[in-house]
């Protein structure tokens, strides 16, 4: 019966075209579904492999692995605290510097800059995102670090370093190779990501919305703060998360400027390390099961940290969406 009607309609040339499309649709759906599920599968396999290879270290050191700062290949004592803290601290510095600057750039391009300037500045931002990270590392070591050591660090040590209790964070040897420098280089690296995305979402704020706000007598600042930002919250946070993801996992640039020391210091101007820089430095030469396993365990922890941070961000996003939904209703 189906074929009948199919043949019948073929003559009219209307429904017949539907049949192959239905098949095409189904094939398309299956293919995309397969791709999407394959990602989950690959993720699960990676996690399982990491956990499997990291198991000897976790079994041998137990929870101490998370709490110990010792990293001694001679005595085969390994702990992940120093690279974990380093990863989080450098990313935090990168975010503290990177987010406000990115916002400034995005707001300038979308709201303030004259039209002829928007394109060149926007393109420049995108070009920054395309620079390989090792170039940032080299620039950080050879150009930024000396400049920072000679001019900015002494200033920070004298002013911020003089504050009681917190001051110690800003005191240290002036060598320009430190946790702070790594965080600063990371900030420069994440700015193009966050700025480009924030600019794009700022751009989609309907003109009418802004115009009506201006019409009501709001200043430029009030329009940005009360109209643009609330409207784009979700997209902005997405951009920040992308930047944070890059900061957490960045390897080569950090390896160049962080100083690669396993000691944990209170001062940001002391050398430190991150999980990825430790892996980059030590993986090829690690011998013995425990050493290799400890490094893989670090990789596993980076995975876990990233998942926790990103799920936290998702959660935050959902909250915001719900809150916004509530407002509208």
């Amino acid at each position: 019966m189906n074929t009948d009607s199919g043949q019948k309609t073929f003559a009219h040339g209307s429904v017949a075209a539907v049949r192959p499309i239905v098949w095409g649709d189904r094939a398309f759906r299956l293919t995309t579904q397969f791709f999407a599920l394959a990602v989950l599968l690959v993720l699960a396999v990676i996690l399982a492999t990491l956990a499997w290879a990291a198991w000897p270290a976790f079994r041998h050191f137990g929870w101490d692995f998370l709490a110990s700062t010792e990293w001694n290949p001679v005595t085969q004592q390994f702990g992940a605290l120093s690279p974990m803290v380093g990863t989080l601290v450098t990313s935090l510095i990168a975010m503290l510097i990177g987010i406000p600057v990115s916002f400034g750039i995005a707001l300038f391009i979308t709201e303030i800059a004259p039209v002829w300037l928007r394109r060149p500045v926007g393109t420049a931002i995108e070009l920054l995102a395309a620079i390989p990270s090792i170039i940032y590392g080299m620039w950080g070591l050879f150009v930024f670090a000396p400049f920072f050591t000679d001019y900015i660090q002494p200033l920070m040590s004298e002013t911020l370093g003089a504050i009681p209790l917190v001051g110690v964070v800003f005191q240290g040897p002036q060598i320009g190779i430190s946790v702070f420098n790594a965080g600063f280089i990371l900030a420069i690296m994440v700015i193009p990501f966050i700025a480009a995305i924030t600019r794009d979402v700022f751009d989609v704020v309907p003109r009418t919305l802004k115009e009506s706000a201006y019409a009501m007598g709001l200043t430029r600042w009030e329009v940005i703060w009360r109209v643009v930002l609330p409207f784009t919250k979700v997209g902005v946070i997405g951009g920040i998360m992308l930047g944070l993801g890059r900061a957490l996992g960045e390897t080569m640039a950090v390896t160049f400027v962080i100083g690669n020391s396993h000691d944990l210091h209170l001062s940001l101007f002391m050398p430190g390390n991150t999980i990825s820089s430790t892996l980059a430095n030590e993986f090829t030469e690690a011998d013995g099961e425990l050493y290799t396993s400890s490094l893989i365990a670090l990789g596993f922890l980076l995975f876990v940290i990233t998942v926790i941070v990103l799920s936290f961000a998702r959660l935050l996003l959902m909250r915001l969406e719900r809150a916004q939904g509530g407002q509208k209703a």
């Binding site: 100083g259 690669n260 430095n281 030590e282 090829t284 030469e285």
Partner: protein
């Protein structure tokens, strides 16, 4: 990835060898230490021209070389840190020294003349332990009464990656300083008490060149290339010596290879009036029982050729070639120890070129 490529090449070479009877091996694959890479690549080039055999060497670091040879993905491994005899036996490996060179402490103190700083082992160890914090410390002043030393904090620079260079350097510190031996010890990577880590010899050279008041250690060739200010060290006999090819040679000359089981020998703190105290040999690792005797033979032929024809190339690059007597010893060991699956020796004296 490299490992699979190498494995592929090895399999390819093996197929070629078994497919065509008596076929010449056209390609040898090895991986390991970065320190001898410049000289190995020169030898490889010359050997390819002379004998038509290609010699691929991946400078992935000593630890990597040991790993790869154990995984049998390469025809030989190379390491600046020798394996102990028992470890060799455990894996059925043999090692032989191929080339020697020196590790040099380098400093960057503005205004200090080339080679003016004099240190002894104990003071050097105390600097790297973080016990001596300033360049005008009285221990350093006592060794350098004529120098005007600044009151500047010392920044220690070390390798951040595991390395044969670090092995040789920490081996020296372990020999000359009890507190270093107790607190830190000797390995390809150690738990450095202070300082910043640079990746590779070049990384250390970069940091030292950048930081006023720093001290680090690099292979001699890097110190020369980067025109770095070296330190004169007090040697075993109590003389202050500079790092020169001649002084490396002196340290190598006294080495008693005859009584070093498995050629386990680290040439640090060697006797001799001129001997540079941080000298080391770089080693090659092969299996005693060769899965593919013809491949192993091709490897040995290459190194034999390099022993006999590569000295001047090595000297030009500031390495120290192995003395004739050691070469003869090594070749005797090859003939005795390396066997094919059927028990026949892979190498005979007649193969020497």
């Amino acid at each position: 990835m490299l490992r699979y490529i190498n494995a592929g090449l090895v399999v390819g070479a093996a197929l070629m060898a078994s497919g065509v009877a008596q076929a010449e091996i056209k390609q040898i694959n090895g991986a390991g230490a970065t320190f001898p890479y410049p000289v190995y690549s020169q030898w490889a080039d010359a050997y390819h021209k002379a004998k038509g055999v290609e010699f691929n060497y991946q400078a992935i670091g000593s630890g990597g070389g040991i790993k790869q040879v154990k995984a049998k993905t390469v025809d030989f491994g190379a390491s600046d840190a020798p394996l102990k005899a028992e470890e060799l036996d455990k894996h059925g490996l043999m090692q032989f020294p191929m080339i020697m060179g020196g590790v040099v402490p380098v400093v960057n103190i503005h205004g200090l003349g080339m080679g003016h700083m004099r240190l002894d082992g104990e003071v050097l160890a105390d600097v790297f332990l973080g016990k001596i914090k300033y360049w005008d410390d009285k221990a350093i002043k006592a060794l350098n009464p004529e120098l005007k030393l600044p009151h500047r904090a010392i920044t220690v620079v070390h390798r951040s990656d595991g390395s044969g260079t670090t092995f040789i350097y920490t081996n020296y510190l372990t020999k000359v300083s009890k507190s270093w031996a107790d607190k830190v010890g000797n390995n390809k990577s150690v738990d450095w008490p202070v300082g910043v880590g640079g990746k590779g010899n070049q990384g250390v050279a970069n940091y030292v060149n950048r930081i006023n008041g720093s001290i680090g250690y690099v292979e001699y060739a890097y110190a020369l290339q980067n025109k770095m200010n070296y330190v004169r060290l007090k040697n075993h006999d109590g003389h202050y010596v500079a790092p020169t090819a001649e002084n490396f040679q002196s340290a190598a000359a006294g080495a008693d290879w005859q009584h070093a089981p498995g050629y386990y020998m680290v040439l640090t703190d060697q006797p001799g009036a001129k001997s540079w105290p941080i000298t080391g040999a770089s080693f090659i690792l092969v299996y005693k029982q060769a899965d593919k005797p013809e491949v192993t033979k091709a490897v040995l032929k290459f190194f034999d050729w390099s022993y006999h024809h590569g000295q001047s190339m090595a000297e030009k690059l500031d390495y120290v070639p192995m003395p004739e007597a050691v070469v003869r010893m090594v070749e005797a060991t090859w003939a005795n120890d390396i066997k094919g699956a059927d028990g026949t020796a892979v190498w005979s004296a007649a193969d020497s070129m």
